[in-house]
């Protein structure tokens, strides 16, 4: 875990209102694993840091993807090259690729692409064939960037790719990784209990000390999304108790 005073180096549009922000954070760039996140703070800004998955790594830079959903994300998006943020990470426990899967399907809803790119690249480097299913409300909300061998689009209104949800559009595979609104992940859990899903919770610290990021478990009790998670085996989570209205993405 590093605390980096990171310079913002760029910003690009990847879907309607959805941007990738690039920042210079060498020790995080060189150690982050797929599914991990960073906790970002700045001043003046909100009191608490804001967690974001690491979307891509580019040399000494990391990238995050976001939309303005509230005051913090709006401020982040209004920053310009050269502005600085305090970047804490890498945090959390990411995706696991186990021994010898031959195929992987990545299911992402809306901003859920955030933790998929690193996963796709890691899978490819392990010789796994990757199918990435991108879901969004409509064509304009689909992220224009992707990785993997095969690509499937799904939109609620059928304006691009399959009409319907990403979960419905996805084929089966040895390994299923998913990220998106918690409600989408519940659907993933219903179809693939063994899938690995990256969940969202409110976070206080991001480092395991506050117990604010409780993820309710099927076996009872709570885990910390920022330490044991954010990636879980889908069937381990008590989906009925995990709040669904924290979702930051547009598609169900």
């Amino acid at each position: 875990m590093f605390l980096v005073d990171a310079r913002i180096t760029g910003k690009r549009l990847v879907a309607r209102d959805m941007y990738v922000i690039t920042m210079h954070a060498p020790p995080i760039a060189s150690t982050v694993l797929p599914g991990q996140f960073v906790n970002i703070g700045w001043s003046p800004g909100p009191m608490l840091r804001r967690p974001f998955s690491v979307y891509r790594v580019d040399g000494e830079r990391i990238e995050i993807v976001l939309k303005a959903v509230g005051v913090g994300t709006a401020q982040l998006l209004s920053m310009t090259q050269g502005d600085r943020v305090s970047c804490l990470g890498p945090l959390g426990h990411g995706f696991e690729f186990g021994a010898g899967p031959r195929s992987a399907v990545l299911v992402s809803g809306g901003l859920g692409v955030a933790s998929m790119t690193l996963a796709a690249r890691q899978a490819a480097s392990l010789g796994i064939r990757v199918t990435w299913v991108h879901g969004a409300r409509t064509k304009e909300d689909l992220c224009s960037e992707s990785d993997g061998d095969d690509l499937i689009w799904a939109t609620d209104d059928g304006s691009k790719g399959v009409k319907g949800t990403a979960v419905a559009a996805a084929p089966d595979a040895d390994l299923v990784l998913a990220c998106g609104p918690n409600r989408m992940l519940a659907a993933v859990a219903a179809r693939w209990p063994e899938a690995q899903v990256a969940v969202e919770t409110y976070m206080g610290c991001g480092t395991g000390v506050c117990l604010g990021c409780a993820v309710p478990l099927k076996r009872g009790g709570y885990d910390r999304a920022c330490r044991e998670g954010p990636v879980y085996r889908a069937s381990d989570i008590d989906w009925a108790t995990l709040p669904s209205h924290l979702s930051y993405a547009a598609t169900p």
């Binding site: 009191m47 608490l48 000390v209 506050c210 409780a214």
Partner: protein
């Protein structure tokens, strides 16, 4: 930078506050040299799973939390954490919680003498189940009874952590001083609520939560000051400290030491920065220890 809290000497005036530092095992970036001590996450006799999410909400310059004292229970604490604490070079206080004076007493008896346990911080912001759920901390008699029950079970330092939602904190402070507290910690979080307009319900699943962070600092300085005016034992100031200047306000207002909580979420190095900032402030003014700071502490 060392300070005396009663008979106990701390190597520095800053402790990590209960519930914001876990059991001290998870804070990789903090330079531990800056820690005068730490207070563990609040513990009950038996394991508790805590409240369902959402457990935290951000508010202007603060946050509400309703963790529900999730914890492993005293036996697991003794087994898993106390042995580590015994090896550390700063004291670890255990924040103890109960639903009756007898539960606090039992917890104390179980923990007294366990290597690694340097003392007790009694959290009196708990509902007194025997008295219909009124908080111990709101009633001088109940607060004194809990203090007395703990005091009788240990010779280790006993600190009492005061609740802020009272009309006269001095009354409670004097009551627990008389019951044998070695020091007071002022203050715990304030009760607050935030409403989710999408569902017309509180944002926290527990409905209310405790407000912490810079928002409460002016209130905390006042209450710690009032407590310090009311008693002769040391007062440890808590509430919204994020910088050395914030900590110095509490010290000048009559506190002997301080605890830092929420600020460490924002800045994992906060405690070291507060420590070094106090040292620099003292150095620039030719003061050799926090105890030499001029105090604003008129006695009633």
């Amino acid at each position: 930078m060392s300070v005396d809290v009663g008979a106990l000497t701390l190597r520095g005036p800053i402790l990590a506050a209960s519930g914001t530092f876990g059991y001290g095992t998870e804070v990789p970036l903090l330079e531990r040299r800056a820690l005068g001590g730490m207070v563990s996450k609040g513990i009950f006799l038996r394991p508790r799973s805590g409240t369902p999410p959402p457990r935290i909400v951000e508010t202007p310059s603060g946050m509400l939390n309703a963790i529900g004292l999730q914890g492993p229970g005293v036996e697991a604490l003794i087994r898993d954490y106390a042995p580590k604490w015994a090896e550390w070079d700063f004291p670890v206080f255990v924040n103890i919680n109960g639903e009756s004076a007898a539960e606090y007493a039992e917890l104390t008896a179980r923990l007294d003498g366990v290597p690694g346990v340097a003392g007790f911080e009694i959290n009196i912001s708990c509902p007194n189940v025997e008295q219909g759920g009124l908080y111990f901390g709101n009633d001088p008699r109940a607060a004194a009874a809990v203090t007395d029950a703990v005091r009788k079970r240990t010779r280790l330092p006993v600190w009492v952590k005061l609740t802020p939602m009272v009309s006269d904190i001095g009354v409670i402070a004097r009551a627990v001083e008389a019951a044998g507290a070695d020091a007071l910690c002022a203050i715990n979080t304030f009760v607050g609520m935030s409403i989710d307009l999408n569902v017309y319900q509180p944002r926290l699943s527990f409905r209310t939560g405790g407000l912490s962070g810079p928002a409460i600092r002016p209130l905390a300085v006042h209450l710690a000051h009032q407590a310090a005016r009311a008693v002769r034992i040391p007062v440890i100031g808590i509430g919204g400290i994020a910088t050395a200047e914030d900590a110095l306000e509490f010290l000048v207002a009559g506190c002997t030491a301080v605890q830092v909580g929420t600020a460490t979420f924002v800045n994992p190095r906060a405690i070291a920065e507060v420590h070094d900032g106090i040292a620099a402030f003292l150095g620039a003014r030719g003061l050799s220890s926090p105890a030499d700071l001029p105090r604003y502490l008129p006695r009633d």
